[in-house]
Symmetry: C3
Subunit: 214 residues, 3 copies
């Protein structure tokens, strides 16, 4: 359980590495969510709303589950502005990006890995146990994609895409194992990011799949 002292510390000084990864992933997911909304034929506002929700949902859920309220996204204008800016970029560049699915796939792998590293890092800074570190890293990474798919009435692709959440879980676990050996920030984040982005990119390139049952 998180102690009052650990919380007070976390509130005073979230690591700048955490903030950098979290904000960069927010902008990328805002763009990606908006590209999917353009492809679904939504109007300007729908594009902004889907981009906004995709960008912010994973981090908001993470903060609510840690008991960090109000969530970082609603404490300062920064993440809201970055999310909307990312979404608006999809208006001129969206159909270009849709024609290059490989580019979107790699951008998505980078954003996923940034959010996984940021989520696991924040859980570590709050003194969470290993299971919670892995769960929150994964939820932060895949949460945005789940809400995007629900808003666009798709079945969530994180559940049907080979090695998507798997890459998130293995990346977060590697990050936790690195931190548990006493290695200091930002190196556990770097390990979590590298493992997740590598696995996801290889899975894209070689079309990895997990077994199906029943």
């Amino acid at each position: 359980m998180t102690t009052g002292t650990a919380r007070a510390v976390a509130r005073r000084a979230p690591s700048p590495y955490f903030t950098a990864a979290d904000v960069a992933a927010t902008g990328l997911f805002g763009f990606e969510g908006a590209v999917a909304a353009v492809a679904a034929g939504l109007d300007l506002l729908g594009i902004v709303v889907v981009g906004f929700a995709t960008a912010l949902f994973g981090g908001v859920i993470r903060d609510v589950l840690l008991g960090d309220a109000p969530p970082a996204a609603f404490r300062s204008p920064l993440r809201i502005i970055v999310a909307v800016a990312g979404a608006l970029l999809a208006v001129p560049f969206g159909s270009l990006a849709a024609d290059a699915p490989g580019v979107i796939g790699v951008l998505d792998a980078i954003a996923l890995a940034l959010f996984v590293a940021a989520g696991a890092q924040k859980a570590l800074e709050w003194g969470s146990n290993g299971f919670v570190v892995v769960a929150l890293g994964t939820i932060t990474g895949v949460g945005g994609g789940v809400i995007r798919d629900l808003l666009l009435s798709h079945s969530p692709t994180v559940l049907t895409t080979g090695f998507y959440a798997t890459a998130a879980i293995i990346g977060a676990a590697a990050q936790w194992a690195t931190a548990a050996r006493g290695i200091r920030t930002p190196w556990p984040m770097a390990v979590g990011f590298a493992v997740c982005v590598t696995l996801r990119t290889l899975a894209l390139a070689y079309d990895w799949r997990l077994p199906v049952f029943g």
Copy 2:
């Protein structure tokens, strides 16, 4: 960031104008959500559950995002009773209302504008910045409709309906701008409500649309 003092003040005395708008919108959304559930062929309980969720979800999300836990809806019986009462009215009056879509459209515009004004007002009382005021006003207004559509397996209509979330955003922004000039409660709420309900009603009457891309 909300200070401890601002929170204590907000907790002691939410403005009665806020409470009136919030509770009135809760009853209207309870009725509306239940009308949609009747049209979807759900049984008595499904009607109550959809009405309950539609009525309370926007305000609950707003309170969770502000860090005001437990949400107002779960601190006293008031909003729960109003939501269920609104939903039950859909049993005798639902099919009547479904035959008059113009009536439902206007009721919905009023409920949307009340929730936008209430959400933006609460964010202002908690000392939030302008981006958060607009985001929370909009989320409070459209949240109920999103959960209603998810529960009934529709694509969220706030994303496909011309000028729906747009009216919410412009109304909340007008409310924030009024409050930022130092004009006192309840006048910023009145401005936010009037702008939102006017835009949404005009959009209904003249079938306004935003541009589509891609």
Copy 3:
């Protein structure tokens, strides 16, 4: 409204009866959610993610709505481990269970009733009023099934299944009425559990339905 003192007490010592019911229901819902994911043709990871979300979502929503953050599921590894273990059991036993829908129906009724009893008990321990006790018992019971159906792109079955949420509401109300007469833990929980599981099982056996309107 929950007082600071009541909260401190609840935090120090949740009743062991609450914990037992909550953890048992978590494992059962993990298994059930994963069985549905196997039937939907998801891969190993999708099965674990759906089982995890089905098992934990109801209790997480309950704790967020009570203002008990971080939720119990994220304070210790216990519920996460139980949820994942329940989900993994669906890999060898899932298709067996799918061939015996009666068995799944009864397991589900038991898990529903355990979560209703646990949710209502926690609300009682936090000093909530009767409406909140019934609402939180019901939300804890049906929340997992709603998120499972959203993730698998079904319309939520709690809304279309005869007497599902109805059994939850009546069970939670009976539990509240028992506690309100001054009868001590664990007897109100036993009453809530027994009423809910009995009604749901009878509804399965005799195909009870509520009236449909419109």
